[in-house]
Amino acid sequence: MTQQPQQISPTGESGTEENPVAETTATADSTATEVTSTNTAVVGRSPARMAWTRLKRDKVSMVSLVLTVIFILAAIFAPVLTALGGWGPITSDVKSINPDIGNYPYGHFGGISAKHWLGVEPGTGFDLFARIVYGLRTSLAVGLISALLSTVVGVVVGLAAGYFGGWIDNLLSRIMDVVLAFPQLLFIIALTPVIQNAFQTDQHGGTDENLRLAVLILNISAFAWAYTARLVRGQVLSLREREFVDASRIMGAGWVHILFRQLLPNLWAPILIAFALAVPANITTEAALSYLGVGVVPPNPDWGALLSQASEYFLIDPTYLFIPGVLLLVLVLALNLLGDGVRDALDPRANRS
């Protein structure tokens, strides 16, 4: 997805209205005073509660929420699940594959059997079910952590740019421009080995698999923060002229107070939405990088890496491609629908779906 270009309109803000993520502006504004004043003692229904009620009424969102929770639980309890299945993620069932024809699994549908619920990985003879639940851990962890990281950085930069204005805004906005102008995927491909090498303790050519995870998270966040920053900046620009901000300023509040006490609480809705949509986007990026061979390094299992491997075997063993492919689709779709539902719930006016 692309973002709104910067200097579109004279005020610099009206342009952001087309940004799907920015559509909550109005709600955030209208509920602003409420949120700050009802921080502790809630009388009546808080906006969060109202949003939750609305979300609950949306069937699609609830299904997505349930799916998301199932995925998260499966990731957390991966060891328990594989114990039930009887095969770990890196134990090879040599008897299930045919070494004469390229270690393809015996049997139909990728070797699905009572022993191997989702079949066997061609090439290695690993249990696909175990690979998938452990791979889910990787995908979710990378998606969540990088979304968290990019949101935090984006919010801080966006707040600073929007609130201080002047040269700070100019500088930060130009940095955002540069980041957004980068051909991201191409750049991450080039960047990954560089950063990996800089931090790697084994300088003998091997690739440290856990360091690679950190590098991936870092790289994905390094390009994702600018979207959030631009969004938050736009919101701050419109909020800082509001009466309640003026009021605190007149009452002698410092900028720290205004930024974090007055402005930030009014931004939680767009930030939450940005975060919710960043998670599936980052999972997609991570999977794409792993597909291109610059992502997660074995023995860490990962869905993108699984699909990359499956692409070599899919003409003979399409099951091996379908299962992780469909699961990845379901995961990302559920997260997207959930993010969508959250937005609708927070912004009833938009009434999207």
Partner: protein, 330 residues
């Protein structure tokens, strides 16, 4: 207007300069040693040093960077000995692997990206906006629901999964289509079209969704605005209101996003589609050059893609100013 354009172009130039610098820094830090790769198997220490010199890799970072910048404007000459390769301005350097000027390689690859981008963009723009408008007009009806949910479905798909699935079904299983790939249109228009069907479909599936969604919401918004209501109140037909008034206003945000998408597609951002279908575009070139440690090519592809994206940004802003009367460029 003129001053605005000049200013935007200047800013773009600065952004590109910064990007070139950052890219250069990264190459410098790349773990692999291109001289060693070029040297081959039995590489004596002395020959390695000579090759390093021949490739210009023995110079300091700043010398190399300023040589690169100079080459952009004045051209460069390569080769240590009497046989030189001349690389005319704007020189992006010489590929370590093929000894070909990077710009030549980029121009060779560019038609593939252009075909891929334009073909798919035309489809997803027209179909996407069409579906979006229908969905907006029939809000709440079945078609609306299908369009909206289909949209998110498309966004959640992975291009390689779609691509491989399509290949599996159409090429291998049913054998309806020939194996995909890129043939220049000048050489064989029929093969060009046939080879690009699946890549186009893949990109359309991925992008269509977003356009449907955006044009739907944009249409809904404009249809609620005063000027549309006024037009309706004036007694204009519903059809006329939708197509003459609402669509024109509603399409402006789509134009901006379309411009950006087209820019990044042309710049080689469809890396995965290219590698799934074996299309030798700039995206694939970039991925290959990273594996080969072909620094000048990495630099060239990155800069090229960034340039296209930055320029698309400028064009989009200008177009936006032209079609949306509310925006004044200053």
């Amino acid at each position: 207007m003129f001053r605005y354009v000049i200013r935007r172009l200047l800013i773009s130039a600065v952004i590109l300069l910064v990007i070139s610098f950052i890219t250069f820094v990264i190459f410098f830090a790349l773990p692999s040693n291109p001289a060693l790769l070029a040297c081959g198997k039995t590489c004596s220490v002395q020959r390695l040093a000579e090759i390093k010199h021949s490739l210009g890799l023995d110079q300091s970072f700043w010398t190399q960077y300023s040589e690169f910048l100079k080459g952009l404007f004045a051209g460069r000459k390569f080769g240590d000995q009497s046989v030189l390769i001349t690389c005319a301005a704007p020189c992006l350097g010489i590929s370590f692997k093929t000894d070909e000027p990077v710009l030549t390689t980029l121009f060779n690859r560019f038609p593939a990206d252009l075909s891929l981008a334009l073909g798919s963009a035309v489809i997803f723009l027209i179909v996407g906006v069409g579906l979006g408008v229908i969905a907006a007009v029939r809000k709440g009806k079945l078609i609306d629901k299908v369009a909206v949910s289909g949209a998110l479905f498309g966004v959640s798909l992975q291009s390689y999964f779609v691509g491989l699935l399509l290949m599996w079904a159409f090429v291998d299983k049913w054998q309806i289509l020939a194996a995909p790939g890129y043939t220049p249109i000048t050489q064989d228009p029929n093969a060009w079209f046939q080879g690009l069907i699946l890549p186009w479909v893949t990109l359309v599936i991925l992008y269509l969704a977003m356009y449907t969604r955006l044009s739907r919401s944009s249409m809904l918004e404009t249809m609620g605005e005063d000027f549309v209501r006024t037009a309706r109140a004036k007694g204009l037909s519903r059809r006329k209101v939708i197509f003459k008034h609402a669509l024109r206003a509603g399409i402006t945000p789509i134009v901006t996003i379309f411009g950006m998408d087209l820019g990044s597609l042309i710049g080689g951002s469809a890396v995965i589609t290219e590698s799934v279908f074996g299309i030798n575009g700039i995206g694939k070139l970039a991925v290959d050059s990273v594996t080969d440690s072909d620094l000048p090519v990495i630099m060239g592809t990155t800069l090229f893609a960034a340039t296209v994206i930055v320029l698309a940004n400028v064009v989009v802003d200008i177009v936006y100013g032209v079609i949306d009367p509310r925006v004044r460029l200053a």
